[in-house]
């Protein structure tokens, strides 16, 4: 079976020092892997390389059987990789409501969908993330947990097969963190996406993922 994600000997240096090197990793469909390691080990950088937002100095990145990055050359641009990404600071667009954000993503990533299909998908995603009544709210009008769910909704509305999460719960309190983990579990159960989850918290890694990949300081 083709791996959904394959990293082959990926290396990245910064300031003449390796952040990491020879990282090789496989991820099957519906798999969930936690990237753990201390600060400065390059967890976020590796995730950005997978997304195509950054390039490695060496190695290959394969996504769904297609060579997406070869060395420092991007062969498949980020928007053609069909990924979802939840940023550490969420990066919600301040000038768009929740629904407008989802509409923007769908109109960009799934242009073939009819208007009706798009509206239905948006409604469905808002329901899954319990944001139906907040669809016309701007990010600054949402609470911390609602913003988190809006970030999930935006990352998943185009139904990616792979979701990348960069320490998405790091700024939440313990109760909200637990609630968000449950939300993420429910979404995975319903939508069945694979996941790479960056965290520096070992307990969180074992709670959300079925495999752990450890990056150490080079």
């Amino acid at each position: 079976m083709t791996d959904l994600l394959r990293l082959e000997s990926v290396g990245k240096a910064r300031d003449r020092r390796f952040l990491f090197r020879d990282v090789t990793l496989h991820l099957a469909a519906a798999d969930a892997i936690a990237l753990v390691g201390p600060s400065g080990a390059g967890k976020t950088t590796l995730l950005r390389i997978v997304a195509g937002l950054d390039v490695p100095d060496s190695g290959n990145v394969w996504i769904d059987g297609q060579l997406a990055t070869r060395g420092a050359t991007i062969l498949v641009p980020p928007h053609r990789r069909r990924l979802g990404f939840v940023f550490q600071d969420l990066a919600l667009w301040p000038h768009m409501t929740v629904a407008e954000s989802l509409e923007f993503v769908l109109a960009s990533a799934s242009a073939a969908l009819s208007r009706t299909e798009r509206d239905r998908t948006i409604d469905e995603t808002l329901t899954l993330t319990r944001l139906e009544r907040l669809r016309r709210r701007y990010p600054h009008q949402l609470s911390g947990g609602e913003q988190q769910r809006a970030a999930f909704a935006r990352a998943l509305v185009h139904r990616p097969t792979l979701l990348l999460l960069d320490e998405p719960f790091s700024s939440l309190d313990v109760d909200l963190r637990e609630e968000m983990r449950k939300t993420l579990d429910d979404l995975r159960g319903t939508l069945g996406f694979a996941m790479v989850f960056v965290t520096h918290d070992g307990a969180e890694a074992s709670a959300v993922a079925n495999r752990t990949f450890r990056l150490t300081l080079a």
Partner: protein, 521 residues
């Protein structure tokens, strides 16, 4: 007991009120105090006023649109495109904003005026007719003011959090991300800089005066200096006062801090690909039209280095006096703006917005109106009359015009100083003065230097207010040159304008280069 902070604030606030606010309030009250209430009505409803308003607004609107169309894309390119020698390019593009507008207009007259190079070369006065028309004023003002939009857009583009664009790049191509994410996030800064450009164009006196267009500022000058009709000058001033106040309020309301060139975030770069050579050509064209051509035109008209030296010999005293007066105004303005800028930076959000709106409105106030207001306020029996007959009035005029801008710049600098550093000093027992001197000032030294250079450069080229308040025998350099235009050979005028441009461009170049290397790059 009155604290040191209270004394400093009272002195600084009194200075701002005395030089900039009270004279304008008095000017507005002139018709009421003389019982001529109909003047208020005439200011807005008189047919001549309305025609003048339409002409002024048309020219200022055209200049703002053109300046924004040139400046905003350049600002974006400076922030995001892979430009070699970025600091030098930024400097080259930003220079026109400090060249006195009369020098720019004069340069274009030498190129495309009735006796200009182009007119003589082609034997046709078609271009000259265009130069001495509203279109000519729009083009010259746009070339003078596009750096406002450019610098504001560049700062805004650098402040956009890169994650916002990266989140969109995961689902959309770069062009769509630019249209739907980047431009909407830049829009408040672009709109507010366009508004500021509009008000600055509306308040310019030198360009419409030299290119013979009747707008509010030239009419105010004529009414006051030629006809000595204070009431008419006041009536003409009211619509401009209103426009400046509304403009200031709108600029502040957009919430985009256009004078805040704070620390840049990690920005998403753009690859220009085949558009690269076109972008380079546009940059070269703008530098050519805004800087190289005007300076070359002045240099050619001046004729030789000997002519420049001769001009300097004849006007040396005016240069020295102008340098001194501008330096005094800049130093006093920075001292006052340190106190008021700090207070503004630590104000509540609502208060800060109101203060910003007022300061922007004061900064945008046309020079001729400031001049008339200063005369009305200071030329009276008593101690103020003693001040009125001296060169101090020129310093007051410079401060009235540019102190508000210095406060905005210093306020933006203080906002970047963590409040906790002051609180820590206070907890250790330091008083306000000690905290300011040892904690705040060292953290904003660069900003204070930029504020000083800003006031110095603008004051050195100021015409509108100082031409009205300068005492006999003490004309600052720019006024000296402006009055020579009608009476001296064009070579001498060009040489003097070139010298003035060099004097303002050099400190500006050093300041922007230091700031660029220290902060933006």
């Amino acid at each position: 007991m009155i604290s040191g902070r209270g004394v400093a604030f009272a002195a600084a606030a009194a200075t701002l009120v005395g030089v900039a606010v009270a004279p304008l309030v008095e000017l507005v009250a002139v018709p009421a105090s003389t019982g001529r209430w109909a003047d208020y009505q005439a200011a807005f409803l008189d047919g001549r006023q309305i025609r003048l308003l339409i002409n002024s607004a048309r020219i200022a609107g055209g200049a703002a649109l053109l300046a924004t169309a040139i400046g905003a894309p350049l600002g974006f390119l400076l922030a995001r495109a892979p430009i070699r020698a970025r600091s030098a390019v930024r400097l080259g593009l930003a220079v026109p904003v400090v060249i006195p507008t009369y020098a720019l207009a004069l340069a274009w007259v030498f190129v495309a005026g009735g006796a200009g190079v182009v007119t003589r070369g082609f034997g046709s006065d078609a271009l000259a007719r265009l130069t001495y028309s509203p279109i000519g004023v729009v083009v010259v003002l746009a070339l003078a003011l596009y750096p406002v939009s450019m610098l504001a857009t560049e700062a805004a583009a650098r402040r956009i959090e890169s994650r916002l664009e990266e989140a969109a790049l995961l689902v959309a191509p770069a062009t769509r991300v630019l249209a739907r994410i980047t431009v909407p996030l830049l829009w408040p800064s672009i709109a507010s800089s366009a508004l500021l450009t509009f008000v600055l164009a509306l308040s310019d006196y030198a360009v419409p005066n030299l290119l013979r267009q009747r707008v509010f500022t030239t009419e105010v000058f004529t009414a006051f200096a030629a006809l000595y009709d204070v009431s008419r000058a006041t009536a003409l001033a009211l619509p401009l006062l209103a426009a400046a106040a509304i403009g200031g309020y709108l600029v502040a309301s957009f919430g985009a801090s256009i004078l805040d060139t704070g620390r840049a975030s990690g920005v998403t770069g753009v690859r220009l690909g085949r558009l690269g050579p076109i972008a380079a050509a546009v940059i070269a064209l703008v530098i050519g039209a805004g800087v190289a051509l005007p300076l070359a035109s002045l240099a050619v008209e001046a004729g030789s280095v000997a002519a420049i030296r001769q001009g300097l010999d004849r006007s040396g005293a005016a240069v020295v006096e102008s340098l001194m007066l501008s330096s005094v105004a800049a130093t006093l303005s920075v001292a006052v703006s340190l106190v008021l800028g700090h207070r503004r930076a630590r104000a509540t959000r609502r208060m800060a917005r109101a203060v910003d709106a007022s300061l922007i409105a004061l900064f945008a106030m046309p020079g001729t109106i400031v001049g008339v207001a200063l005369i009305a306020f200071w030329n009276r029996p008593g101690w103020s009359g003693g001040v009125y007959g001296t060169s101090a009035m020129i310093v007051i005029a410079y401060m009235a015009r540019f102190l508000p801008a210095a406060i905005l710049v210093v306020g933006a600098g203080v906002r970047r100083v963590p409040r906790s550093t002051e609180e820590a000093a206070a907890l250790s027992g330091a008083g306000w003065m000690r905290t300011m001197w040892h904690i705040v000032v060292p953290q904003i030294r660069g900003t204070l230097a930029v504020g000083w250079v800003l006031v110095f450069v603008l004051a050195f080229g100021e015409v509108g207010a100082s031409i009205l308040v300068a005492p006999p025998g003490h004309a600052p350099y720019s006024i000296h040159v402006l009055t020579l235009i009608a009476n001296a050979p064009s070579a001498q005028v060009a040489a003097l304008a070139l010298v003035q441009t060099a004097v303002v461009v050099c400190p500006f170049a050093i300041a922007i280069a230091v700031r660029s290397f220290a902060r933006l790059d």
